[in-house]
Structures are given as C-alpha cells and as structure tokens.
Symmetry: C2
Subunit: 139 residues, 2 copies
C-alpha cells in the first residue's frame, strides 16, 4: 500500500494523517506473518527512531477500531494484526506461531450458499472465516 493510498484511507475514515499512522499502516502491510505490536515497533524504529511504544499501540488501536486493519484471532496473549481487509481465511501452524493468509473464492461461495439456507437459531451471521490448522511444509 502506497503512502498516497494510506493517506486517502485515513482521510476517508476521518482520521488525521500523521507520519506515525502512515508508518504503522505501512508496516502492517509489509511485514509477514501477521505482526505483533513488538515487531511493528521494531520495524518502524528504523525510520522513526523516537516513536513512542504507547503511540504505536494507540495507532494500532485507532486503525483497528476504524476498520483499516484487523486483529487476528490467536490463542496467545499477544495481539496480532492484519492489513488485508478483503475476505480471506487463515492458516495456523500447529507447531509455531506462524499464520498465513488463504484466499479461496470457491470456498467462500460454497460457505455463502450453505449459510444462506442454514439458519443458526438466535444468531445472525456477518462473516464466516476459516481457521485452518496444520503444518507448513518446507519450501
């Protein structure tokens, strides 16, 4: 995601465009494996050596609350983030903390068809995502 795109995204959400916000959103986009705050801070410190840890946490929170990034569901106490807002699923490594994206339109269509017909009593569905747990093979 280019700086201009980021800038526009922030404006669209009514957020002020600050260098820190640009840097954080860029970092979440660029870093692999659904980065934690710690990794994002590390990355940003290269270009913004004085950025405050609290600021990064605040920026991540603002970005997530405004739908510019998403938090990823994990079992651990460290929160992780994802810049891809398009519909996709996650591959979770059963042996490490690696998480990868998985897109599959056919699967999405199948699930959509299924839940169009299938009612879950007392619950109205907004989104369906797969947690696909397994092992990454050496590549």
């Amino acid at each position: 995601m280019k700086t201009e795109e980021i800038r526009r995204s922030l404006v669209e959400k009514g957020l002020k465009v600050t260098p820190q916000r640009i840097a954080v959103l860029e970092a979440v986009t660029i870093l692999n494996n659904h980065p934690s705050a710690d990794h994002i801070i590390e990355y940003i410190r290269k270009t913004h050596p004085n950025v405050s840890t609290a600021t990064v946490y605040k920026v991540l929170d603002a970005l997530a609350e405004n739908g510019l990034i998403k938090r990823v569901k994990t079992e651990r106490d460290i929160m992780r983030y994802d810049a891809i807002l398009d519909k996709h699923h996650h591959l979770y490594c059963s042996e490490s903390d690696r998480i990868e994206d998985y897109s599959d339109e056919q699967l999405d269509q199948m699930l959509e068809d299924y839940f169009r017909r299938k009612d879950i009593p007392g619950f109205s569905i907004e989104d369906v995502k797969l947690q696909i747990i397994g092992k990454f093979r050496q590549t």
Copy 2:
C-alpha cells in the same frame, strides 16, 4: 463431566489426579462462554478458597498441553478455554466478548469433502474450524 470421568481422563494422560485439577476441569466444563482464567478462579474459589492463582494457570496449561481442554482463539490478550474436544466451531459476537459453540456435521462433511480434493500448496491440513462472526439475537 463427572468427577470419575475427569479422574479417568487425567490418568489416561499420565497426569496426577489432584483436587485442583478436578476442580479446574469441572469449571471449564460447567462455565459458559468459554471462560477466562479469571472466571475459573472465581468459580473455584467457592469450593477451594485457598487455591493459588498461579496453580490455576499451571493447571490450565497442563490440561491444554495434554489435550484435555483447548484454548480458544480470540483477538484479546486474555486467554480463554473450552472443555469440548469434539469437532465444533465457534460463534463470535461482533459486539461483545461472547463466544458460543456451534456443531454441524453436514458442514463438517462438506468441508472435509472440499479439502480432500483441494490442496493448499505447502500446507498439510490437520483441522478446519469456522469462526462465525455475527450478532446474538435476544432470546
């Protein structure tokens, strides 16, 4: 889960049978909404007023590591637990921290069929679970 069942489960896993372990496993089974450590501690304190917080964390960890309970994937930093080991999915409330179980064999079958034919390059699937995000309706 009755005490006898719990006892047997622990023995099967080569774990010592302690009152604390029985109480914790029972609590995870009984409490709704995929309880956090805090809720479990609260509950247990009724029958074991002197149980140490550290012990509960240790027990939860031992139970999870030995496959007697599962950790639930959430976006928050507080870990949560699930006593149901049978194949099931989770309903996540988009507005609160409520999480409910959702079982659906037809869906499981459909997904199994799908991934029997569909290869994810570089990844071998062990399990597939749905995160179904939406709103619980008043009941």
